[in-house]
């Protein structure tokens, strides 16, 4: 009878379905498992460093942060219930201006705080709606009302001058919460 140890392929692996025979192919021993956990902890530590650097940069520059003044629309050109999409403060920061009712208007950066889908103005329900996962936001405060988002939409500071509305800044979260 053939010796199990001298066979090129062990008898238990000599079949069509479980015939892979690489060294330690199926074993993750205790030491490797622990090393993997330490490696993962290192990976997480390294991945937080850019966020820390960005936060430090923001902390150092927050006092001198200035926003441009940007005209959104003439109030005579829009009717209550209308919404206008614009970009503020940067050209890639999509924002939504909503003329809620006479003398009342709001603007928010319209990337949903869940997965950054664009948020739309639901004129009938008077809510801001993210169609991706049916997140809803309060038009008065920007706070999430329903769906997965947990943080409010960043509000844009508006100013009325000579019958037109201007965006002049973005409120910080601390001021909103």
């Amino acid at each position: 009878m053939e010796n199990e140890k001298t066979r090129p392929i062990p008898l238990k692996d000599d079949n069509y379905t479980h015939n892979i025979n690489r060294s330690n192919e199926r074993s993750l021993d205790r030491r490797s498992f622990m090393k993997t956990m330490v490696g993962a902890a290192g990976l997480f530590a390294a991945s937080t460093l850019p966020w820390g650097a960005l936060a430090a940069k923001e902390l150092m520059s927050s006092s001198s942060k200035s926003y441009p003044t940007q005209k959104i629309a003439n109030l005579s050109d829009i009717k209550p219930g209308d919404a206008i999409e614009f970009a503020y403060p940067g050209e890639h920061d999509s924002a939504l201006f909503v003329y809620v009712k006479e003398k009342e208007y709001k603007a928010y950066q319209n990337a949903c705080t869940h997965l950054r889908c664009p948020v739309f103005w639901d004129r009938d329900e008077k809510e801001l709606l993210c169609p991706c996962h049916h997140g809803k936001f309060d038009i008065a405060t920007g706070n999430p009302l329903a769906g997965p988002p947990r943080r409010p939409l960043p509000e844009i500071v508006l100013q009325e001058k000579d019958g037109a509305v201007y965006a002049v800044g973005v409120k910080k979260y601390e001021e909103q919460l």
């Binding site: 205790r30 030491r31 498992f33 622990m34 090393k35 956990m37 330490v38 993962a40 902890a41 290192g42 997480f44 530590a45 991945s47 937080t48 460093l49 966020w51 820390g52 960005l54 936060a55 430090a56 923001e58 902390l59 927050s62 705080t113 943080r151 910080k172 979260y173 601390e174």
Partner: protein, 67 residues
């Protein structure tokens, strides 16, 4: 508790804390709470050498036990 379990459980807890801290770091950054971001990312960075020390101690203990 058997010493063979202690290291594994400690490392699992440290890794869990790392995951939680990383998640909160990102959340706090998006919520513009930058001081918390610095504290949490600092905590995650400190957890790594801690995990390393647990691994080294575990290996040393096992060597002494002759395993």
């Amino acid at each position: 508790m058997k010493s063979s379990y202690r290291g594994v459980i400690l490392l699992a807890l440290i890794l869990f804390a790392s995951i939680v801290c990383t998640q909160y770091t990102v959340n706090m950054y998006l919520a513009q709470r930058y001081m918390e971001v610095l504290l949490l990312s600092g905590a995650t960075v400190v957890l790594f050498p801690l995990a390393w020390m647990v691994l080294r101690k575990d290996q040393r203990d096992r060597r002494e036990q002759g395993k």
